[in-house]
């Protein structure tokens, strides 16, 4: 958004505090759109006046007061228009920290409620939880602003009309609901960090920030630790994953000196904590992060501890058995036991006939086995399937080099 560090720090402060103020105001008003309008107004004012007058001693109290005044204003106007009394009484005092924490969780669980479509959850997460403007949400998700505005309006309408509750789920439903929240946040991350497409830093950064917030709110929750670790370890490779021409660079070929060691260190630490907190049945995010950590800690592709990678995939299969996980395990197996064993393992994976990377993996292994003709056919099979143009360009390059 802006390059001036002081200004971006201010932006962050206003948005973080704005989100807390919003979470509480939604509960007090019982009206998400109204609370959003009021807080938006307050944050805009903060960004106008704070750079000039200085940041107030208690930014949250300032934002609370300004947002509350605005809400009362809007309610009065609405009351005058409809001839009804404005009824909402908004308490004066800022709530204690535990209440703010619960308010934030409530807001997160509303935005990621399973009764809302995934794309709606992602849009709401960016708008309501991250505080992006409608135009910014549209840009981030590659949707025209007007379409995005309609989608968000429909979402808020559904929340209000269908009475999606503003509450933290009970203990017995919490695991499921938390999984849904993390899936939404991870979707936000992968949208921004598509392994082949353009990196959209806004989405990646917002996803990481949301995950950090969740960690703050639910410290010690293994799946949150795992997701944060996975995101940081993945994001540590951001600078190395494309070449000068903008084509994706395979993990094997990446310049590891460009990986962010601070993110790797933090990610590895989180993996350890996540594993300690779920020793019996590791959380799938923690295990995926453990695999990412094996790569992150290896000085070169050849020096990767493939035995450990394969073992982690075995653990992952126990908690999340999908064809793509099996394919990735087969690729790691090829590094540990050689291309023939790897190829046999790839061929044993069913259900990925329409997945280009399965054919690409076969092609790579066939090449290594010296069967270049079959390899070429496998590359062609991969390229015949619909996929991202950057990935296709990279596959063509690998095919023609072989």
């Amino acid at each position: 958004m802006t390059e001036d560090p002081a200004r971006s720090a201010l932006f962050r402060l206003v948005r973080d505090e704005g989100r807390r103020v919003l979470a509480t105001l939604v509960r007090q008003l019982g009206d998400l759109p109204l609370a959003e309008d009021a807080v938006q107004d307050a944050t805009v004012r903060a960004l106008e006046t704070w750079p000039r007058d200085g940041v107030p001693e208690q930014p949250r109290a300032w934002l609370t007061l300004t947002a509350r005044r605005r809400a009362i204003d809007l309610l009065r106007r609405e009351a005058a228009r409809s001839g009804k009394e404005g009824l909402a009484v908004v308490p004066e005092d800022p709530p204690p920290p535990e209440t703010v924490r619960d308010d934030l969780l409530r807001l997160i669980f509303v935005c990621c409620h399973p009764a809302l479509a995934h794309e709606t959850q992602v849009a709401l997460a960016l708008r309501t939880l991250c505080g992006l403007s409608v135009a910014e949400v549209g840009q981030a998700l590659l949707v025209p602003e007007e379409t995005m505005a309609k989608r968000l309006t429909r979402a808020r309408q559904k929340i209000a009309r269908a009475a999606i509750p503003y509450r933290v789920p009970d203990d017995h439903e919490l695991p499921d609901r938390l999984r849904a929240v993390l899936a939404t946040v991870y979707l936000l991350f992968t949208e921004g960090y598509d392994p082949v497409g353009e990196v959209r830093p806004t989405l990646v950064d917002e996803a990481v920030r949301l995950t950090r917030l969740l960690r703050e709110l639910m410290p010690g929750e293994p799946s949150v630790l795992g997701l944060l670790a996975l995101e940081l370890l993945t994001d540590s490779r951001r600078e190395a994953r494309r070449d000068a021409a903008g084509l994706p660079v395979l993990l094997a070929d990446q310049d590891r000196s460009r990986w962010r060691t601070d993110l790797i260190e933090e990610g590895v630490r989180l993996v350890g904590e996540g594993l300690r907190r779920s020793p019996d049945r590791p959380d799938p995010y923690v295990v995926q992060a453990a695999i990412a950590a094996c790569h992150a800690l290896a000085p070169t592709w050849a020096d990767t501890d493939w035995g450990a990678v394969v073992s982690w995939y075995d653990v992952l299969l126990e908690v999340q058995d999908t064809p793509v996980v099996r394919l990735n395990r087969a690729a790691a197996l090829a590094e540990r036991d050689g291309p023939a064993a790897g190829l046999a393992a790839v061929d044993a994976v069913a259900g990925l006939e329409r997945y280009p990377l399965r054919h690409a993996a076969r092609a790579e292994l066939l090449d290594r086995l010296g069967d270049h003709l079959a390899a070429r056919a496998a590359y062609d099979a991969a390229l015949a399937l619909p996929q991202d143009p950057a990935q296709a360009a990279q596959l063509r390059r690998r095919r023609d080099r072989g």
Binding site: S82, K84, H113, A115, A162, A163, I164, P165
Partner: protein
């Protein structure tokens, strides 16, 4: 408290026939369990008995009836309940206990409260 219509989409069969007695019994059990939230409802004969009515040219125009349901779908609207619940989560919990959800699907829709609407 908000009210929800739980629209039951299930096999388009005659649920009054004796071979469906087991299902009917399940609905009876639901009726007892959910008595506190049920505000109304009905089971419907299959779509083969439906008549769809349109008035051509708007109000006062020609009444045109067609034999059959408004939309032909694999699963048909076979009945509905009106439920009064605290929020959507509660409505979904009850909907999941309807036998129709186990085989077909329940569409849960909030009901407009014209009394509470500003206009």
């Amino acid at each position: 408290m908000p009210q929800y219509a739980a629209l039951i989409y299930a096999a388009d069969v005659d649920w009054s026939r004796p071979e469906f007695a087991d299902v009917t019994k399940e609905y009876g059990a639901f009726g007892e369990a959910a008595a506190a939230v049920i505000r109304g409802g009905a089971a419907l004969y299959p779509t083969g008995t439906a008549t769809t009515v349109r008035v051509q040219g708007g109000k006062g125009g020609d009444v045109v009836t067609t034999d059959g349901p408004y939309a032909e779908t694999k699963e048909a609207l076979t009945g509905f309940y009106l439920l009064e619940c605290a929020d959507l989560d509660e409505a979904v919990r009850w909907a999941a206990q309807l036998p129709g959800a186990w085989d077909g699907a329940i569409e849960v829709r909030p009901v407009i409260d014209f009394g509470a609407q500003g206009g």
